[in-house]
Amino acid sequence: MNRQDLRRYDLEAWIHVHFYKIASIYSIIEALAILAHIAAPSGITEAIFRISTLIYWALLTPSFYELSKGFLMIYSRGSAYSHIAENIRERLVRRYYSRAMLARIALYVAIVIWVVGPIAFIAGWLYGWG
C-alpha cells in the first residue's frame, strides 16, 4: 500500500506514519535540548528544554493514540477499533460486549491521562510550580 492509498484508506494511520517519521528525526534535537538543560542549567536552556519537550510530546501523540487503539483492539478481540466487515463486528460485539465497551471508554481515559502531562508541564512552568 502506498502513501496515497493509506491516506484514503485510513487518515489516522497516515498521520501517525508521518508524525512517527518526523518524531524519529526530531528525537535527536530533543536529546540535545535535554543535554544542554542538564549540562548547563540556565533560564535559556530551561526554556529550550520545555518548548522542545512540548513539541516532542505533540509529535508522539498520534503514535500514542494508535498504540492505545491497537492494544485496546487486541483486548476487545477485534470488536473495537478494527477494520472488519460490519456483520462480523456485530457478532464480535455481541460476544465480547463488556470488553468492547471497556475498550471504548479506556481510549478516552488514556487520552485524558496523556493530555495531563503537558498541562502539568505548562502550568508548572507558567506558575512556577515546577
Binding site: M1, N2, R3, L6, V17, Y20, A23, S24, I25, Y26, S27, I28, E30, A31, I34, L35, H37, I38, T53, Y56, W57, L60, S63, F64, L67, I113, W114, V116, G117, P118, A120, F121, A123, G124, W125, W129, G130
Partner: protein, 69 residues
C-alpha cells in the same frame, strides 16, 4: 537480518521509552521539593531513549530497511 532486527529493537526501545518517559518527566516537574530528585534521572533516561529512537531509526533507513509506507 539479525543486524537489522537489533537496530529495530533499539529503535523501538527508544520509541516506546520516549512515549512513557516524556509523560513521566512532564508530570514529575510538579513533584514537591524532596521528590524532585527523581526528575534528573528521568530526564537522563529520556535523553537516552530519544537518542536510541533517532540514531537507530536513521541507521535502519541507511541500512536499506526502509521500504516506504
Amino acid at each position: 537480518m539479525a543486524g537489522v532486527s537489533r537496530v529495530m529493537l533499539f529503535h523501538y526501545l527508544g520509541y516506546f521509552g520516549s512515549m512513557i518517559l516524556i509523560w513521566l518527566v512532564m508530570v514529575a516537574t510538579l513533584l514537591p521539593h524532596p521528590m524532585r530528585i527523581l526528575l534528573k534521572p528521568l530526564e537522563a533516561l529520556l535523553l537516552i531513549a530519544s537518542l536510541l529512537f533517532g540514531i537507530f531509526g536513521v541507521l535502519y533507513v541507511m541500512r536499506g530497511g526502509h521500504r516506504g509506507g
